[in-house]
Amino acid sequence: MNPSTFREELTGRFGWKLGETEEKETRLYITPQPEIFEDLVEVIFEENRGRLATISCLDEEETFRLLYHFALDEHEIMVTIKLPVEKDDNPSTKTIARKIPGAEWIEREIREMFGIDFEDHPAKKRLLKAESLDDEAYPFRKDFEVEDLGGE
């Protein structure tokens, strides 16, 4: 299996809803319709034994974008699912930590650093952020300046 055959397999299952894709030698990037996101994660994690490498969060002008990186180690394919999260007063998306325990810390870090709420997350408490920082201070957002760091 390579990125193109894996994409074809996914297209066979999800059709046009798989959305825009981009391929490289060992990489596959997918921007699916949000409604199939959970099914897609399930297909990659459960059926294809994908390993959740991590989730990267991008702070773009209009939206936040979450990049779920799954490694299919046996096939040498790194699949990345791109999921936009609307930038409003309370940006939020669904958690995957109930299904994949490894996502718990990753989502906690993103919640603290970018202020994205993961609905139904099993442990919404601080992991990394300094006690001197407010709950509403999100250091990894683009509009956060290092000078905003309070404390000593």
């Binding site: 490289k24 060992t26 990489r27 990037y29 034994r49 390993r51 959740l52 490498a53 991590t54 990267s56 969060c57 991008l58 702070d59 990049l67 990186h69 490694a71 180690d73 046996e74 040498e76 790194m78 990345t80 994949i100 325990p101 490894g102 718990e104 810390w105 990753i106 650093m113 601080r126 992991l127 990394l128 952020k129 300094a130 250091p139 990894f140 290092v146 760091l149 404390g151 000593e152």
Partner: protein, 399 residues
């Protein structure tokens, strides 16, 4: 009745700040909670302000042990984004330093593991031989840690043949001593009694938590980036992925000690094959817009770097995920139900590295104290005592 025992944030047994809360009843551990973040330095954020060639210097300082792993993973990400070619010779040099780093890291851990269970002989042996590896790295790169070898598209410096040849006696010695250490540890009934059957992580849990490196390989998963997503020259070398099925702490010890032997074998092959001439740097000029993923097998497991480029000379976003970030949460599966005495070695058995895990502080000075000036003033004071000439700045500070 359940009691809570705090360990840390600063504890004599631990080499880094972390805070565990063990909920225990009698000897049995019922629950574990962890508070980290004491080492958070904001490196991901800082990285967005550096150019592509400056970032390796920064990420090299994510971790003092894996100071080759982070820049390597970062360079792989940039090379993935820009489809850059790396000269053959540079690949050999990169791989050599990477494997020497793995040897010293595994020996460091073996020593600490001995120390955690009160077996300080192992600690002294392992660290004695680790010193030799660090000296060798100093000979080859100029530094015992933070080797400053990496740059996108190649390496910074060549290593002369004469120095490579001088590495052979050290590798021979390490091979003999690592075998001795392996046999001594595995034959020792005390080590067996202490480590066998505790902290078991089964294959399903290892997969669910996304465990990496020796932690997952000791649970029967042959996950190794060097063979799954090959980089460097691993495809040309003769070596094997070490796995064990038991999933206990003893299996993790065994995997790391055997991997040390594999790494020594690889270093010897690299020294034999490394080309004498040729380019070491493809000198990339620009990085096009796009995404880049770098996946590197650090001593503790996959080190993952992601960069987003917009076509300028610095990354818009640089995400770093160290292996401990995935390995550490497995304590939920391994510690609960064990005894307090075993908890410390189980927690240590994933070889946790907190500065990597947290990586992200900006040292903020108090309003009225400038640490730099304070340090310069002290230098001026000492110079005056010794009767040396002061620089103009020091004269101002001295007043």
């Amino acid at each position: 009745m359940a009691t809570t025992i705090p360990i840390g944030p600063y504890h004599p047994l631990q080499e880094e700040p972390e805070h565990y809360l063990l909920t225990v009843e009698g000897e049995e551990v019922l629950d574990v909670d962890v508070q980290i973040g004491y080492n958070h330095r904001g490196i991901e954020k800082l990285s967005e302000k550096k150019t592509y060639n400056q970032v390796p210097f920064l990420v090299e300082r994510v971790c003092g042990i894996c100071s080759h792993s982070h820049p390597y993973a970062y360079c792989l990400a940039v090379e993935d984004c820009g489809d850059l070619e790396v000269p053959e010779k540079a690949k050999y040099l990169r791989t050599l330093i990477g494997e020497l780093e793995r040897i010293h890291s595994h020996l460091l851990w073996a020593g600490l593991a001995g120390h955690f269970i009160g077996y300080d002989t192992v600690f002294m042996w392992a660290w004695k031989y680790r010193e030799e590896v660090l000296d060798l790295l100093e000979l080859l790169t100029g530094n015992r840690n933070a080797y400053a070898m990496m740059k996108p598209g190649g390496v910074q410096r060549d290593i002369p043949r004469k120095h490579l040849e001088e590495a052979r006696p050290t590798l021979d010695m390490l091979k003999e001593k690592s075998e001795m250490l392996y046999n001594a540890v595995l034959d020792d009934p005390v080590m067996k009694a202490r480590l066998e059957g505790i902290g078991i992580l089964d294959e399903e849990d290892a997969r669910a938590f996304g465990a990496l490196g020796p932690t997952s390989r000791a649970s029967g998963i042959p996950n190794d980036i060097r063979s799954d997503f090959p980089y460097g020259v691993y495809e040309d070398l003769d070596w094997k992925v070490i796995t064990r099925d038991a999933g206990d702490v003893l299996a993790r010890v065994e995997v790391r000690l055997l991997e040390t032997l594999e790494s020594i074998k690889m270093c010897e092959q690299i020294i034999n094959r490394i080309p004498d001439g040729g380019s070491i740097d493809s000198e990339p000029k620009e990085i096009p817009p796009g995404d880049g993923i770098g996946s590197y097998e650090a001593p503790r497991g996959e080190c993952f770097h992601y960069i987003k480029s917009d076509g300028t000379n610095r990354p818009v976003r640089h995400k770093i995920r160290a292996p401990t970030f995935m390995n550490f949460p497995t304590y939920r599966s391994t510690c609960i139900g064990e005894t307090i005495a075993d908890a410390s070695i189980i927690l240590a058995s994933v070889d946790p590295c907190y500065c990597c895990t947290e990586r992200a502080i900006s040292l903020k000075e108090k309003d009225d104290v400038n640490l730099l000036e304070l340090s310069q003033a002290r230098t001026a004071e000492i110079k005056k005592e010794l009767g040396l000439e002061l620089s103009p700045l020091e004269e101002v500070l001295d007043e």
